[in-house]
Symmetry: C2
Subunit: 296 residues, 2 copies
């Protein structure tokens, strides 16, 4: 399989569904819907939805049956970026080479666009049984897990500890808390949701939970490394911004070589976790390697 083509096709599918489900700019209030769409269609890689679809397929499900939840995850990811960029938080002017949401629509609309994306995500999740292929009880389990990984003891908690750690010397457990909660959790949740909605059994779900945990942390370490050695044009943001801001990162704490080694080890753990799933999990294997070796 040609991964590049696969990623392109899958992200096009996700874009199409997001466009279908996001309220149109013709609906009142147009400014809000424009602002929501501005950030959702800002050129994201759709990695979380793609992982969810691949996880569903790895347990015998389809990509289509997780589409509601996959788009919901992308909306939650987008809301978190919009709020992280706000002046009171990271105060970023650019993301993916374009002005950030609040730079374009103002701070109030950016806050509300984030709120609305988070809310619409749960509305979409509540419709995940629309095709009648999935038991409502399974959908509730997915909503619970997404909310858990996105909430105060998940992604939002990670962002708080990240902020509170800026400019401070932090220890390794704190760094790992930030990474697993702020970024890793949503990736793990995507994989678990794919396994659940795809109809996986408990053994398959356990294997994919190990996979998602390792892949999620590897993703963030790779992100840290890209911030040091990445290409500014590919990334669409300034290289070295973590260091300038006094952010705790793996390269800062462990050095670049050891950070790379750790990312590769986690990638191996992720791939090994897939053994019980056999050839159905080949796409997830490729995605794990891609997560660590991407250049943007």
């Amino acid at each position: 399989m040609e991964l590049k083509e696969y990623l392109h096709d899958r992200s096009a599918l996700v874009d199409q569904a997001l466009d279908h489900w996001l309220p149109g700019e013709d609906l009142w209030p147009g400014s809000l819907h424009q602002s929501m769409r501005y950030s959702v269609f800002a050129g994201g890689k759709r990695l979380r939805p793609i992982l969810m679809m691949a996880a569903s397929e790895a347990v015998g499900g389809t990509a289509q049956q997780v589409m509601h939840a996959a788009c919901a995850m992308e909306m939650i990811h987008t809301y978190s970026l919009v709020h992280d960029d706000l002046p009171a938080m990271d105060d970023d002017d650019f993301r993916r080479g374009r002005p950030t949401n609040h730079k374009t629509y103002g701070e109030a609309t950016a806050i509300l666009a984030g709120d609305a994306l988070l809310t619409e995500a749960f509305r979409l999740l509540a419709n995940a049984d629309a095709n009648r292929l999935i038991a409502p009880a399974t959908v509730l389990r997915v909503i619970e897990l997404v909310a858990r990984y996105a909430g105060s003891q998940g992604m939002v908690g990670g962002q708080v500890v990240d902020m509170e750690s800026e400019g401070k010397v932090i220890d390794f457990p704190t760094l790992e808390y930030i990474h697993t909660h702020k970024t890793g959790g949503l990736i793990l949740a995507s994989v678990q949701a794919g396994a659940l909605l795809g109809g996986g059994n408990e053994e398959q779900i356990a294997a994919l939970t190990r996979f998602g945990g390792a892949a999620g942390l590897a993703f963030q370490i790779a992100d840290d490394i890209l911030d040091v050695v990445g290409d500014q044009t590919e990334l669409g943001k300034d290289v070295g911004s973590d260091q300038a801001r006094g952010k705790a990162t793996y390269p800062a704490l462990l050095g670049l070589a050891e950070a790379r080694q750790r990312a590769n080890e986690l990638c191996d753990i992720a791939v090994e976790s897939l053994t019980p799933l056999g050839t159905a999990a080949e796409t997830l294997q490729l995605l794990a390697r891609y997560i660590v070796n991407r250049n943007s």
Copy 2:
């Protein structure tokens, strides 16, 4: 029935459940959980949860079986207040006589506490079938309706139009859009959720939908009137703040007398809607009268 005592008892029940379900300040990150609890336990009347419990009882259900959803609604209401008070929005320093969340915890934590409260609300909703009394499909229907009334075409949409209208002359349909979306919708959603989770049939749900729509709008008109004639100490905020800010209100657009008449008419409509429910809806009748005649 003594309404004052009833409201006191019911809000105590809600407080107890909120305290049980909200993450503790001992859990990491403590600052975030402290900030969430600060605003949740800031002396709210718990009107939305109480309406939900009364709606459940009006269709033959219990207060206890809607407790997850009732607390979720209070968390969503609280998050909306925390975000509305932010400097980029209404820039309020005080709410209910205490410094607002961002004045106490800083702007970044206030934004994140709001995000976390919204997320935890959906987590709680996903557990609404924990007592096995409610079908998972019904819970999904409730999550969908709550997200709809709270999202970009509901409460968040109302807040956007409200902000965009500040200092402008707006027409009556725009004012009614703001009121029904920004405040009315969450009250209507509370009543509908109570009817659904309480096991109401379609006729009962339709009656309570009419009730909730009228009561929700009446609540906001009463709020507008209190901002003109209310007692500062009872309200816990400045009287006349809407006018000072150039906010569109019913008294500003219709005059005080006509605004009062409209609130009373809506209250009558709400009470009449309850006819099909018989004596089981007596509490809701009292609550409708209270909504219009409260002094805080």
